[in-house]
């Protein structure tokens, strides 16, 4: 193992007592606790970490944070693997394994780099202009394009980790734990309100962790520790480090993702959640989201060894790493001078190329006083790169307008370049909150302008272009006070005196796209404004040349800002280039909206626990344990698990269903009907409501009697059916289809509350209060009689009536209604007794040869009798008349829901699709449901369709196959023989009949 050659003396934020071994591209390296993968690689002098998206150019580490466009790695292997992880964010843990991406066979020798040779014919949008001939070849070309794209690899095994999700409320959410955010949280916390402070990094402190200034006489890192200790002592403050606020939605609803355990390594952490998604509704938001340094764009600015100046500061001050020996800072502003000073402090060679014509002021003076050379009014026009490292740079003097370079080229040896084009406030979340941005001409960046009325947020610190720590802290304090006050906490928090270095910056030179020795877009060098997607200034020129000149077209044509970094370091430079090319000021170009999430959000975290067994609730009836023991095969009906059939031994479904159906009609069968929707209706106006809900009349229904009804929507189409029973004077028990229960309940509530509030009706869903066993068949009465005190003779308990009594000792409502056409009792008992009832019925039923049967047999049995299933034999376009159930539509009632629609032109026309029965000429053949009847059979499609088969079964009781169909003008087709072409090319002859196959 090699020594960490770039490691510095001081500890910074590392734990030097704990060294960590890790593997990158199968080589072992060593780092320390507190490192990121990026800092540890740099400490080991590894700059080349991967290949770029399109041209496969060698790439290194460009930043020290979540804005990283370049250093994406495949983290871990097998089930633990994750593509496209930013090395700058991955915390080092023992045994970490990472691989470079988008290169083969290795990152040093990558065959994909052949793209780089052809890069001249691969400008932005090249794929729109070619691969069109021959047309059938596109998918062949595409296969290779797809393989070449895509960066890392998806896992191919299920995720071994789990994710947590939590919902919380607070008064003040502070986003960003830098100097402004910390002070905001302390101020708000002092008022006693509920505060959450969230920061994406492993430690709070923000930019202060990349600093080496003194605050109130102590090193700034110690100052941060003190302030965080203070926050930890406040019981009303929740500190969430490693937590990225990724989304800002309406009414101060924010989503934050906490990386709970991945810093421990995936193998250790399988027992705790990998990540936790916080859904936060807060009264107030303080955004202290900081700023991201803006790059300068120059020839071949993508080479490993070139990074943001601020990143160099982070690596030195936070990670105790100086990633080069011979450094050059390229800047258009003063802030990057700190990086040069830090390098000099650590004994590195450093010089500054300042593109300003005459840099001066305090920062320049301190650099000069430290013996740092400054080359003014110069730009880098080329870089030398070989074998994984930067070797030299070339600089030339800038013309007055900054658009050209003049004079002679100077070559300087150099292995590290820090670039700075000023700073870009992080206003992504503000933009997500529907706040409006404005372009600030002084700071050359977008700033928050008008907040959305739904999301009044306060900003503090460098996210509003306040650059110096002292001012950031003051603003944070004020924002914290303000937010707490708006949240209703009026106490005045104390202000702490803060003494720290006073800084002042000279103006920057508003130039970001630096000319090269050839015109940009020509020659062999490339100016990358967008490292992630390999988009160049030349691409922007081409886009504008071709008319893709709006920001939105540019974004799509050049793919700028569409990478996993969402253009954090590239968007503004693209705008600057566009502005220059089109000679329009940036504000006139517009800005694209920032979309959530701020950084990519793990899908598992979005899902949380709501997968696998908890994906959607599984509803089971009280009899379910019995069904399990009987080896029932289930069918999903809505959320319910319903037994589909009860196989005996190795019986197939077909055999089981034939047996069950036969047995129900020969002796008897028992169906678990608990899932049927049940609604309890009470109140003096219930009858009036039923008259509006159903097509038939309800005025004469006696107490204890049941009636079947069809329910229509206002379009006149059937949407549910069921039996409703009058329990008492103003008391009814309504049943609905299993799937329609919730819909009918909502339907009733809607009309009662919005149109007919004067009606006194109380509707209560009681689906789960009653367990229902449906006892069918010739022996049904005999079985029931053994278990009940209710007289079952025809006179005292006729068809379509209900009696209350005891069944198996349980208080029960027994309905004599039938969906099989057999003598049938639907026995309703309180749900908690359902299992006992079922056991008693099956036990008693045994001697009467009663079998349990499932939904499949239920379907066959009802079809034998021509009973419809709403949703199977209807589809939302079918009226009662279409079903041949016009007899259920009252002629006397003035109005009911859906009635008016019957008279519309299309609904009242003849020739609509109507429900009929079908009998195949071959009685053994069961038509596939969904097959269509045609008017004229042809050798091949297209053929004119008359309609489709809605239900189709082999009926053991009819002794042949039976089917139902919705056919155009079906009632008039009865008696005719028609054809059903099948998708395998064969066809069947069918006779059109009544949809009732078993007559008594």
């Amino acid at each position: 193992m090699k020594k960490q050659v770039n490691r510095l003396e001081h500890n910074a934020r590392l734990n030097r007592r704990k060294s960590i071994r890790f593997w990158f591209d199968n080589r072992v390296y060593e780092g320390y606790e507190g490192d990121t993968l990026a800092s540890a690689l740099l400490a080991n002098d590894v700059h080349l970490v991967g290949r770029s998206f399109k041209y496969h150019r060698p790439r290194g580490i460009y930043t020290a944070g979540s804005e990283e466009p370049n250093a994406l790695v495949q983290l871990e292997e097998k089930a633990y693997t994750e593509p496209n992880r930013r090395a700058t964010e991955v915390e080092l843990y023992e045994g970490l394994i990472a691989h470079s991406q988008n290169c083969w066979p290795s990152r040093r020798f990558d065959l994909g780099a052949v793209n780089s040779w052809f890069s001249r014919i691969l400008p932005a949008g090249f794929y729109y202009k070619t691969f069109m001939w021959p047309a059938s070849f596109w998918m062949t070309y595409e296969k290779y394009i797809r393989k070449a794209a895509g960066l890392g690899h998806s896992p191919t095994e299920p995720d071994p980790h789990f994710y947590d999700k939590t919902y919380t409320h607070c008064d003040v959410l502070v986003i960003g734990g830098g100097p402004a955010g910390i002070e905001a949280a302390i101020a708000a916390g002092q008022t006693g309100c509920r505060v959450i402070l969230a920061d994406e990094k492993s430690e709070f402190g923000g930019m202060l962790l990349s600093e080496n200034i003194l605050i109130n006489g102590m090193p700034c890192h110690d100052w941060v520790d003190n302030r965080i200790d203070r926050l930890k002592a406040m019981s009303n403050v929740v500190l969430l480090n490693r937590t990225t606020v990724t989304g800002y939605y309406d009414y101060n609803f924010l989503v934050a993702n906490q990386r709970v355990s991945e810093h421990l390594g995936p193998r250790i952490s399988v027992n705790s959640p990998k990540e936790r998604l916080w859904k936060i509704r807060t009264k107030q938001v303080v955004m202290a989201t900081g700023a991201i340094e803006r790059p300068l764009v120059f020839a071949d600015n993508d080479r490993p060894g070139i990074m943001l100046a601020s990143a160099i500061r982070s690596y030195i001050n936070r990670y105790s790493t100086l990633p080069g020996k011979n450094c050059v800072i390229l800047t258009n502003n003063d802030s990057a001078y700190h990086a040069a000073l830090d390098i000099a402090d650590e004994g590195g060679q450093v010089g500054i190329i300042d593109i300003r014509t005459n840099p001066n002021g305090a920062m320049v003076e301190s650099a000069v006083s430290r013996g740092i050379w400054i080359l003014a009014n110069n730009a880098i026009t080329g870089v030398g790169y070989s074998r994984g490292r930067l070797r030299y740079i070339e600089a030339m003097e800038l013309s007055d307008d900054g658009l050209k370079v003049v004079g002679t080229k100077q070559r300087m040896l150099c292995d590290l370049v820090g670039v700075s084009g000023g700073w870009n406030p992080t206003v992504h979340l503000f933009s997500q909150s529907k706040g409006k941005l404005r372009f600030d001409e002084n700071h050359h960046c977008f700033l928050a302008d008008q907040p959305s009325p739904n999301n009044p947020a306060v900003l503090a610190g460098s996210c509003r272009a306040t650059w110096f720590p002292k001012e950031c802290m003051r603003e944070g304090h004020e924002a914290g006070c303000e937010a707490a006050k708006c949240a209703g906490f009026d106490a005045f928090p104390e202000t702490d005196e803060i003494k720290t270095v006073q800084l002042e910056y000279a103006p920057q030179r508003p130039l970001w796209i630096l000319p090269g020795s050839h015109p940009i877009g020509q020659g062999r060098t490339k100016h990358f404004h967008e490292l992630h997607n390999d988009a160049t200034i030349g691409d922007i020129q081409l886009a504008v040349r071709e008319g893709y000149e709006s920001v939105e077209h540019l974004k799509r044509y050049t793919t700028t800002g569409m990478g996993t970094d969402q253009g954090k370091t590239s968007n503004l430079n693209a705008l600057a280039a566009l502005s220059e090319i089109r000679s329009l000021p940036i504000p006139d170009l517009g800005v694209t909206t920032f979309r959530p999430p701020y950084t990519p959000l793990t899908m598992g975290s979005i899902v949380g626990h709501d997968c696998g067994e908890l994906f959607l609730q599984i509803r089971k009836t009280p009899m379910h344990p019995w069904h399990d023991q009987a080896h029932a095969v289930y069918e999903d009906v809505g959320d319910w698990k319903r037994p589909r059939y009860f196989p005996l031994g190795n019986e197939t479904m077909h055999a089981a269903v034939q047996r069950e159906c036969r047995q129900v009609r020969q002796s008897g069968g028992l169906l678990d009907a608990s899932t049927l929707g049940k609604i309890d209706l009470q109140g003096r106006d219930t009858r009036r409501l039923l008259n509006m809900l159903y097509t038939n009349a309800w005025d004469k229904l006696q107490i204890g009697r049941c009636r079947y009804g069809l329910m229509l929507n206002e379009h006149g189409m059937v949407f549910d059916d069921g039996v409703t029973t009058r329990i008492g004077e103003d008391h009814y028990h309504m049943t609905t289809t299993t799937g329609g229960a919730a819909r009918v309940m909502s339907w009733i509530e809607e009309w009662l509350q919005t149109e007919w509030p004067e009606l006194e009706v109380y509707a209560t869903s009681v689906t789960e209060q009653w367990a229902v066993a449906s006892l069918n068949g010739p022996n049904a009465a005999a079985v029931l009689q053994e278990l009940t005190d209710i007289p079952l003779d025809e006179e005292s308990f006729p068809f379509m009536s209900m009696r209350e009594g005891k069944v198996a000792g349980i208080p029960a409502r027994v309905f004599r209604i039938s969906f099989t056409g057999e003598l049938s009792y639907e026995i309703n008992v309180p749900a908690r007794h359902g299992l006992v009832l079922w056991e008693q019925l099956t036990e008693t039923g045994r001697k009467y040869d009663i079998c349990p049967y499932g939904t499949e047999s239920m379907h066959v049995l009802r079809a034998e009798k021509g009973f419809i299933i709403v949703g199977q034999d209807t589809d939302g376009t079918v009226t009662p008349m279409d079903l041949g159930m016009g007899w259920l539509v009252s002629r006397k009632k003035q109005d009911f829901l859906g009635k008016r629609s019957f008279d519309r032109t299309d609904t009242s026309r003849s020739g609509r699709k109507q429900l009929v029965g079908l009998l195949t000429e071959n009685p053994e053949f069961v038509l596939p449901e969904g097959a269509h009847v045609v008017s004229e059979l042809k050798a091949s499609p297209p053929m004119d369709m008359l309609g489709h088969i809605t239900s189709s079964y082999m009926s053991p009781n009819v002794g042949r196959s039976i089917a139902m169909a919705l056919l155009k003008d079906g009632f008039n087709l009865k008696g005719q023989t028609l054809d059903v072409p099948l998708m395998n090319g064969t066809s069947q002859r069918v006779n059109v009949t009544d949809p009732s196959f078993l007559t008594d």
Partner: protein, 418 residues
Amino acid sequence: MAAKPKRYSIFSLARNALSYHQGWQRAWRDPDPKSDYEVVIVGGGGHGLATAYYLARECGIRDVAVVEKGWLGGGNTGRNTTIVRSNYLWNESAGLYEHAMKLWEGMSSDLNYNVMFSQRGLLHLAHSVHDMQEIGRRGNAIYLNGIDSEFVTPEQVREMVPFINLDCRYPIHGALLQRRGGTARHDAVAWGYARAADNLGVDIIQNCEVTGFQIEDNTIRGVETTRGRIGAGKVGCVVAGHCSVLAEMAGFRLPVESFPLQALVSEPVKPIIDCVVMSGAIHAYISQSDKGELVIGAGSDAYVSYSQHGGFDTIEHTVGPIVELYPIFSRLKMLRQWGGVVDVTVDRSPLISKTPVNNLFFNCGWGTGGFKATPGSGHVFAHSIKNGNMHPIAEPFSINRFNAGALIDEGAAAAVAH
């Protein structure tokens, strides 16, 4: 009129490379509006641009302007999940979408613009007995309409999508496959039509918002815009989410509501899923773009909104089924989510129709699925505008169907549970 633009090909690409691509022309001009046009198309999305293109190419009407309030292709054309299919139940829909499918199949060479139409196959999963009945009916109807349609078993689904969880909360019973279904590059469709229409003399006028209609004797005379009045013999409105806003200007209402619709993409990964897979039952729509992103469609929210934002709960309800169906995607990351505005009719079928105002035509109501219809929609709309009578394929999609009750109810047929 523009000089004849150079054709796109590998040779022109290579030739231009020699001059560092300095020689490319504008894909479309940036003209100022004339005072009058024979036809003005309002809305520079895919459907509007396609309409203009077919007016110019097939109907002999080249005196056409497309006015767009923002930048072309900026509405739903640039926001959708790019799925193309024609596996619809009703004859009317099948006619329309299959008409579009055939145009898709020749579009790249027709427009001399690679729209990356990729017939990678499209699976509709069935998760229950009821779903099987639904795809059974639809699959047969599609077949008898002469459109490709196949049923596949769960095992065949697994062969096509190796990492799918067949035994998910609602186990997969089978699927309906349309091999000719797939995806296309959405931006390229707008740009390709724009370039081709411009080439035929159509004026494409961006940043030009219609603020009113000029109507005399119940007949359209022109449009008021932010760039002045533009006279027009006929006007076709193709503005998707904002159709009700324009209808209000013209003095009538539409059977449409505008809902937020969201979509999201994952970070790009190497090819992992080849075909398009749709599950209506648990609501998971997924495909993988050529760039490597998983493109995932969410459901629409049920409230009217033009804000182009939606709730996070919708994202949760979208990603949940994806991970349930593809557990391997749990560790992948959502890169970007966005919202659009979709114009939804009660029967989930579009409106391609005359209006109460003479010579004013509307083409809207495409809801969540307009992209796939783009060429067919533009084609039949162009012919309808030219003839003043609706094209036979468009005829059933008139606004009047809602009064008569002749709905083309794709929603009801698919969604009713039992």
